[in-house]
Symmetry: C2
Subunit: 404 residues, 2 copies
């Protein structure tokens, strides 16, 4: 007998019909002889609708009350799903975060799970009951409802897999798994059978929307294998696991991209300790997220050029901040570009393949795609290009690295 | 300093704008120097929308899960209202039933409140906090969410008034109070300043929708004075209190009516002990609600005629049940009428006014309104008439008893 976490996302329970379909999937997995703990998100659109209500009340809606508000979404879906399972003749019961309890810290609206009590649910599932747990929510030591932040139901699933020591953590969603690149921009994609946590982290940070980066990271930390699969087919999906479990045949596992990037270059900054901190401190304090950072020393060895990327909508604000600090930063000039895309090749196998960098740049050059900036990590090479060349770049890289 | 319960119904918090208006009312009452405990219903339409979802999942939706589902409605409204009060610069906090806790029995979907813990909330309100409590919900000794049945937020308000020993329990709603009769059928109605629990019970059983009969009864049992008033004006509303607090100047306090009645007469039943039980037992077991019951002995003294009223939609079923039991009941024949209305004059003052009955019948006779059945209690006289004469009857009685 195996113990499984089955997590269903918002699109999987987006309508009454879909909830009934999910109940049938659960019934089938139960009849296979498994102990089942279900985690469920709010019906798709619900969390947005509640957030909209809160913003009409106040732009500074109290964060503790926001958690009370948003947690109602999973309360609705978990009760509907439990009753739907009961209607199929099985024993089921919903648990809110406070009932389990899933104990979190007091950082309302972005809480971290501290511990999960297992006794009552273990009793229930060992006597054939199906436990349906409202995702995304917990309870603080002040006896108040907390939530884990956006995508938090994946975090709930990973934490429950850890505390209940399950054999598998299956994330049911509206796609069949993780693909070699975004299927909406290239029709020759393939489903990835196995991907490492690290690769998945890079993919999801770059917009592969299958799992939130935080939940991939949580799974990595406790080495919880994840199986991402579709609610709407019976096919096996993608397994996210540790690198040691993967037999790398290819240097590159997937291609990711993100649009809406802007690039800022500060030219001729005096090259002395602390200059990078002077540049990025005021930007960070204004809640602007900086992505790539590249620093070159100039020819004379006395000044440096600092280039970084941000989201396009933050460009104006960022330029203002830098200009306000001109005296302190003591730079020569600022240049900037917007409408840029970041395209990345990702693969834990590239460490053992020295030719990857060269192949990437040559392949883009052959398509006359100009590279505006480069940054690399052990399992990723990213280049910044013009946004309107994104699809062309992804397609050519997909072919170059044998992913078609 | 006074301690107040302020209860706001679904129409009072039906939109974001209305929630903000309610927050301002609460602020005003708080600034007057009162300790405030708010009870709030789900936004109007929400409970119906959730019930609709449950019925699409299953006609036999699990009652425990139904309570989880429906309780989410008050979770939403209580968090929105709390945040709206905080936005006005005051200290506020929402409490779900399980957080207070409001402990109920285990009769899911129609639970009764057993006890309410007061310490935490007393601390909060005594240090200027405004406690906002989700109405309609509680928690069972199995640690599961319960609900109090339809209109349950009024019951929550009355129970909180009792356990918190408040000076006043104000029910804010979309009408200005209780009127001498239904304003939608007569334009000469007057607001009743004070009405006894007993009178209010009779009025609300007969369709005055201001308060559910169960909550009036609960208030009566613990002698909790209620003030029903409008969210949308500042006028005083109607005070519901014990008879001893009222100085009766008039014999009749109000006129109530209910449409959609049907009448069934069983003629010539052998008049022996147990016959009434034989008639009503199978009807009751089929969940048909019997209202008026009148039994006359026939002229020969051996047989009786039993007449009773039911809701029109139950007529066919009721006749079938009686015909199925013809042998046992041993009656002569059945007659029936549908499209009837029950019109009642209600007043604790009528005990001291012997002419009331006669005046009622004469006034109807003058309007050529035929009376099909009569039943009386100490504070009410009801007559059954043709439904299309309802308005005429109400108007003439309203005038006869000086209510214009």
């Amino acid at each position: 007998m195996k113990r499984l976490i089955l997590k269903f996302g918002g699109t999987s329970v987006g309508t009454i019909e879909k909830i009934k379909k999910v109940a049938n999937i659960i019934k089938k997995r139960h009849q296979e002889g498994n102990e089942i703990i279900v985690v469920v998100s709010a019906m798709s659109g619900e969390t947005d609708a509640l957030t909209e209500k809160s913003s009409l009340i106040s732009k500074n809606f109290d964060s503790k009350e926001l958690d009370v508000l948003l947690a109602s979404g999973e309360q609705v879906s978990s009760s509907l799903l439990s009753a739907s399972i009961i209607d199929l003749g099985l024993q089921a019961r919903s648990w809110m975060g406070w009932q389990v309890p899933i104990v979190t810290d007091n950082n309302y609206s972005s809480s971290q799970i501290i511990k999960i009590k297992t006794k009552e649910i273990l009793n229930f599932i060992s006597s054939k009951g199906i436990a349906v747990i409202a995702g995304f929510q917990g309870i603080s030591n002040e006896n108040r409802i907390t939530t884990l932040g956006r995508g938090g139901s994946d975090l709930s699933a990973v934490a429950l897999a850890k505390f209940f020591d399950t054999d598998s953590c299956e994330i049911y969603t509206d796609v069949e798994g993780v693909f070699t690149t975004d299927p909406s921009i290239h029709n020759k994609v393939k489903k990835i059978e196995k991907i490492s946590y690290e690769e998945m982290l890079e993919m999801s940070s770059l917009g592969a929307k299958v799992m939130q980066p935080q939940s991939v990271q949580a799974a990595m930390m406790d080495d919880i294998p994840i199986h991402v699969r579709s609610t709407f087919t019976e096919k096996t999906g993608t397994k996210i696991t540790s690198e040691s479990e993967i037999d790398y045949k290819k240097s590159v596992t997937g291609i990711a991209y993100s649009k809406n990037n802007a690039k800022v270059s500060i030219v001729g900054v005096i090259d002395k300790p602390g200059v990078a901190a002077d540049v990025f401190e005021p930007i960070g304090k204004n809640n602007i997220n900086v992505d790539m950072v590249i620093q070159n020393t100039s020819l004379d060895g006395k000044t440096a050029n600092i280039t970084f990327t941000i989201r396009q909508e933050d460009l104006r604000k960022t330029l203002n901040i830098i200009e306000k600090n001109k005296e302190k930063l003591n730079y020569n000039k600022i240049t900037h570009d917007d409408k840029l895309a970041k395209v990345s090749i990702i693969g834990a196998g590239m460490i053992a393949s020295p030719g990857v960098t060269y192949k990437m740049f040559r392949s883009l050059a052959n398509e006359k795609i100009n590279i505006l900036a480069i940054s690399t990590s052990e399992i990723k090479i990213s280049v910044l290009i013009n946004e309107n060349l994104t699809q062309k770049a992804v397609k050519t890289l997909h072919k170059t690295f044998d992913l078609n």
